[in-house]
Subunit: 332 residues, 2 copies
């Protein structure tokens, strides 16, 4: 493999609308990718080809994998029992150096397990974490962990902060990203056993630590990175999504009760559309599983082709920006 | 005290705009209260009287208390060091049977401490919990604990569920309230150590337990009561508030960029106003601290007079509906 070439393996069979979403998204991305980037669609060859309207672009290949991991499958068992699944084969390509990055919109637990069990964690990293983007007044911030670790120790949160710091530095080009701890009060004494201890450790970790942030202030976008355990992060991320969707529903119902309201809504539509777009997870593509010895991007199961396109391009960019190498040299 | 008379002690000095918000709110409530309800404004007599435009209504009294617990005071220390504070005096009135309920918009931690240390918990209740209302597609649901217990054991969550069940039953008149556990997946196997164990216990608790609910689904209003530890609940509640406020800001900015958008917004205004009202914590008044041997309602620091009016009427209703007696006889 040419040292400058970047290869992204796409789990073509993962996701609610697989393989269509993955095939269309990857083909779309291939048109916009740099010349040194190549994509490999891993999955059932026949199913993949039936989604193509014409020939494959020159920078997209197909690698056959006969098995499929379903959304309902048990993550760890599925990885072990289905070694020829699209996800496991794609992960093995990263492990063996045939690919630099893995992107999957399938079963999130299975994608995490593929990262941990097949590709493996970076030596010295205790707990890999999923970092997700969420919309704020200032654009978006990152939050991690959002689900790889339901139970955490204070040390884990420091490791998350360090990995998030590297990721945001490399991807967004921010020199000293600001970091806060998600907590239930602003003072250092506030919190549960986990966060009060983590606060102390974060203060001494050499990061641009800004102290605690409360749930109410997350949407303000005052910091680049929010650190928390994977249980809290998962609930936070899904709640942002749920509340946003609920409010858009309420607006729709509320204003459409009267003719005046309906007319107003039509006029205000472009502004509202912008809002909906900023709240749409598809805009962000996917979430990196940091701490794995290879780039792993986990996308939403319901990803549209646009989301997949964003996710596979983000994967290529993370390889180009040497996120894994930086975590190896600076975190552990 | 007449056995049928209900006395609500109001911490007149607690809150960002105290005593004005409390005095105005209580006087407003007094006009709408049932004839057997009496309110006592506890605090600096002079300060309270200076907020009154005329005479006190016949069902409102003032009880002087010279000290004030500030928002920045340490909750437990403040209760001990300021025994003549409006909060401590009001709590003592409940302890000594001169009042049936305490309402405070002051320092939440101090109000919780006053409940625990002065009034005391119901014998057999391990951990009192704060139950809060949040808006949903179907009206609102209750979530507890939202901050009294940052670290919880599985048993605590079952106790919260039982207290929430009684509260909703008595206050909303729902025979068998539906209850879900806030978690990071729908299956019983999902979650952290706390929630996986709590799930098991909740299944055997004789409640109308509906299983796990994810953050994304909270706004749907599919269940009456959501149970979680106080750390998760506090972040959840504040996040709902924060995301709602952020979206309303975005709508305002987004639509006001163009003349067309501004016109649309003006036309849609009544619908949006309804939305803002449904998202306004003032509409709900206050949150009960359940498990205390007396009704304790904690209101938002920034409560308007309307919020205080709702909170003190809710306190009187909780006494009338015998919430404390029901918890005593059915939970422990």
């Amino acid at each position: 493999m040419d040292s400058k070439q970047i290869v992204v393996a796409v789990d073509a069979m993962g996701g609610d609308n697989a393989p269509a979403q993955n095939v269309l998204g990857t083909v779309q991305a291939a048109k916009n990718a740099k010349s040194n980037v190549k994509f490999i669609l891993v999955g059932n060859e026949e199913a993949i080809e039936s989604e193509l309207s014409g020939d494959l672009p020159g920078n997209v290949e197909v690698k056959h994998a006969p098995e499929v991991i379903e959304m309902k499958d048990h993550p760890v068992k599925a990885i072990k029992k289905k070694p020829n699944s699209s996800l496991a084969v794609a992960a093995k390509m990263v492990k063996e150096g045939q690919a630099d990055a893995l992107v999957s919109a399938g079963n999130t637990g299975a994608a995490t397990a593929a990262g941990l069990l097949i590709i493996g964690r970076i030596k010295g990293i205790d707990r890999p974490a999923i970092a997700a983007m969420f919309p704020t007044d200032k654009g978006f911030s990152f939050i991690l962990d959002v689900g790889a670790n339901a139970d955490c120790k204070p040390d884990n949160l420091v490791e998350f902060a360090k990995m998030g710091d590297i990721y945001v530095r490399q991807i967004k080009g921010i020199e000293r990203p600001t970091i806060s701890l998600l907590n239930i009060g602003e003072e250092s004494s506030k919190g549960n056993l986990l966060t009060t201890k983590a606060y102390e450790l974060l203060e001494g970790a050499g990061l641009n630590f800004q102290g605690n942030i409360e749930g109410r202030d997350l949407p303000l976008g005052t910091v680049d990175i929010i650190v928390c355990d994977g249980f809290t992060g998962n609930i936070t991320l899904k709640l942002i999504e749920g509340v946003a969707a609920a409010i858009l529903r309420t607006i729709k119902t509320g204003v459409s009760k009267t003719l005046r309201g309906r007319l107003g809504a039509i006029l205000a539509l472009p502004g509202l559309r912008e809002l909906r777009e900023s709240l749409d997870p598809d805009t962000y593509g996917g979430s990196p599983l940091l701490g794995i010895d290879g780039v792993v991007i986990i996308a939403h199961g319901s990803s549209t082709p646009k989301a997949i396109s964003n996710a596979v391009l983000a994967a290529a960019f993370a390889v180009e920006q040497k996120v894994v190498e930086e975590i190896k040299s600076k975190v552990v």
